[in-house]
């Protein structure tokens, strides 16, 4: 047994240095994992390293990651939004319906974003206006939004999108950089700055750590939360435009189950599901990891449902491992 004299030297007057902290952070662990998967993929398949192939691989995660950024903020603030995949379906249905009425691409984009915003506003009003728990409200709206698109479409599909609309999901900005990937990078930077460098971002953390304290320190808790749900709706609308454009068709079952994948992505990125902590770089890395794993498995002909087992195991183990690790270390220390 080690001596446990408590001398003043045992209490550090500051935490570890910046470098040490960065090295031990969740994000650097994710970076290592990402590199290993990248390496593994390039060894497993000779086609992996081709730039066009890598560019194709990004389509796996960009749409989900776009939502994941906003979802990260929502989860950091201590709430959750399970209705995002249904917002995609409703926005996509609205766009498909607009095509039938003869609207063209610019109008479709506006409609997609507007439907997303409207859905986000409904969530936000129910949660902040009436003070209802977000998990139940969004389970309800999840059913409501997708239900509306089932009412409109039934077992039919909208397919006749204008050619110019295809650019959002299939077009390239420059060389191998698709519109979706560029959007992903730009939004990553925007959300990173908003969360880590603005008062709004600090308010999100404050609310997630202690809502009452945040309220008493002058943060308009309800307004910030409302904006977050609005943003998530908007991002789901944006993702809907990309996905609809990429698939070129709308069925009511579009993006079914995506809410789970988006939440997994956010949690894997080191965001505490109970709120209060998490970073955007973590979410970016988690998106890359999930995209590469899915793509690598695809190259190896692993069926999608087996991948989902892997994603589920990943979700549980990324949360369980640090807890087990902390416990083992505590046991060793005594």
């Amino acid at each position: 047994m080690a001596e446990t004299h408590l001398t003043p030297r045992n209490i550090p007057d500051r935490l570890e240095g910046r470098g040490a902290r960065l090295l031990k952070s969740w994000e650097s662990l994710l970076l290592v994992v990402a590199c290993l998967i990248f390496l593994g993929n390039s060894l497993a398949s000779p086609y992996f390293l081709d730039p066009w192939n890598l560019s194709d691989a990004t389509f796996n995660f960009t749409e989900k990651a776009i939502i994941a950024f906003a979802m990260a903020l929502v989860i950091i603030s201590g709430e959750i939004d399970l209705s995002v995949a249904s917002i995609i379906a409703l926005a996509s249905t609205a766009m498909g319906y607009a095509v039938q009425l003869g609207f063209d691409t610019p109008a479709l984009v506006v409609i997609g974003l507007a439907v997303g915003l409207a859905c986000g506003a409904i969530n936000g009003l129910l949660i902040t206006g009436l003070g209802l728990p977000s998990i139940v409200v969004t389970i309800g709206t999840m059913s409501l939004f997708r239900g509306l698109s089932f009412i409109v479409l039934g077992d039919q599909a909208f397919t006749s999108y204008p050619d110019s609309f295809a650019w959002f999901g299939q077009g390239y900005v420059w060389w191998v950089f698709s519109f979706e990937f560029t959007l992903f990078v730009v939004l990553a930077i925007v959300y990173g700055v908003v969360l880590h460098k603005t008062n709004f971002g600090r308010a999100v953390y404050a609310i997630g750590n202690n809502q009452t304290a945040a309220l008493f320190s002058g943060i308009r808790v309800a307004r910030v939360k409302f904006i977050l749900f609005l943003l998530t709706g908007l991002m789901a609308g944006l993702a809907s435009i990309c996905l609809t454009s990429r698939l070129g068709s709308t069925r009511p079952s579009i993006a079914l189950g995506w809410e789970l994948e988006v939440v997994t992505m956010v949690v894997l990125g080191g965001v505490n599901i109970l709120g209060g902590s998490g970073t955007i770089p973590g979410v970016v890395l988690a998106a890359l990891i999930m995209g590469m794993v899915t793509f690598g498995f695809g190259l190896l002909n692993v069926p999608g449902i087996v991948m989902s087992i892997f994603i589920g195991l990943l979700l549980i183990s990324v949360i369980a491992l640090p807890i087990l690790w902390r416990r083992a270390r505590r046991r060793l220390a005594h």
Binding site: L130, L132, T141, M142, L144, I273
Partner: protein, 325 residues
């Protein structure tokens, strides 16, 4: 009068009655006793599942994996029956319940021993259990002709004029009611959800209580797995896909507070029946079945809004610190 208005179960009975009156106005034959019995029978599985979900929600947890658990247990039961047609049906049911319990235990152990938030655990196991069905069945369907007649007949067999399925759900309602009202475990469910800190001080192991709630929901999901597969005479990877939301909806409509500690067996049953009546009424009053999803979404939102207003006046908070956690 004010007391009657505050009683959630009576309100729900009234809501169902209003619903029935509205349906009768369009289609009188709906309220014939034989048809109502059929509606109850059709809702039986949802009722059984809602009872399990209720126990979990009472302890401030949630079980999103119930439908996947049902599908996995059901697939295992169907494959067992297809491989060994001679196996007695009670044994198959027992196996399904045991597998369901085991899957529930996994959820419970992760929540209890590792302190992982329940929503994350069951989101994860939801996809894992679904995936396991694929691995187990190799993506194949088990069709009616592969199942033995006894396997398919049990839920349909009639006992005193009602199908066994209805009787089974009544028995389960009775059992869960006894557990909730007459056992220490049942009271512990309420105590843990009502105030976990106070529960600890009264000597209740919060984690263990949650574990048992998950065992119960798992066991009931396993039983429902057999019932579902034998009733519809088919088993495949996607059976009951998305049904977890209907189960939670039934609980929320039944007045079971998602914040834990509040809810009754009668509420869960009535919540499930409310959804069952809507589901069975839509086709006969000429509303597209595709509208069902949107309607249950609306109903969930309205129910949670109504419940939240009722809960806000539930009493004085005397220990704010413990209440806030």
């Amino acid at each position: 009068m004010a007391n009657i208005l505050k009683n959630r179960e009576l309100l729900l009975v009234a809501a169902i009655a209003v619903l029935l009156v509205l349906i009768t106005w369009r289609f009188p034959a709906f309220v014939a006793p034989s048809n109502l019995a059929r509606v109850y029978n059709d809702t039986s599985i949802l009722i059984i599942l809602a009872l399990g979900q209720m126990a979990v929600i009472l302890t401030r947890c949630i079980d999103l994996s119930m439908a996947a658990n049902l599908a996995l247990s059901g697939m295992m039961a169907a494959m067992l029956n297809a491989a060994y047609p001679g196996l007695p049906i009670p044994l198959i049911i027992l196996a399904a319940v045991m597998l369901g319990t085991l899957l529930g235990m996994i959820n419970g152990a992760l929540v209890w021993k590792l302190d992982i938030p329940p929503i994350v655990v069951t989101l994860g196991t939801l996809t894992i259990y679904r995936g396991l069905i694929f691995l187990l069945s190799d993506g194949k369907w088990i069709n009616a002709h592969q199942m033995s007649d006894a396997f398919k007949a049990l839920p349909r067999d009639e006992l005193a004029g009602f199908p066994v399925l209805s009787w089974l759900s009544l028995v389960m309602i009775g059992l869960v009611f006894l557990v909730m009202s007459r056992t220490a475990l049942g009271r512990a469910f309420y105590a843990v959800g009502g105030n976990p800190h106070a529960a600890v001080y009264t000597g209740i192991d919060v984690g263990r209580t949650r574990f048992f709630a998950y065992c119960l929901s798992g066991a009931l999901a396993g039983l429902s797995g057999y019932l579902w597969v034998s009733r519809y005479a088919v088993a495949y990877v996607d059976i009951a896909l998305g049904f977890e939301l209907d189960i939670i909806a039934a609980c929320v409509i039944g007045g079971i507070s998602i914040a834990g500690g509040i809810g009754t067996v009668a509420g869960a049953v009535l919540g499930a029946l409310f959804l069952g009546v809507i589901k069975n009424a839509l086709p006969v009053i000429n509303i597209s079945p595709f509208a069902q999803m949107a309607i249950s979404g609306m109903v969930i939102i309205i129910a949670v809004a109504v419940n939240a207003r009722a809960e806000r006046r539930k009493g004085r908070v005397i220990l704010r610190k413990a209440e806030a956690v």
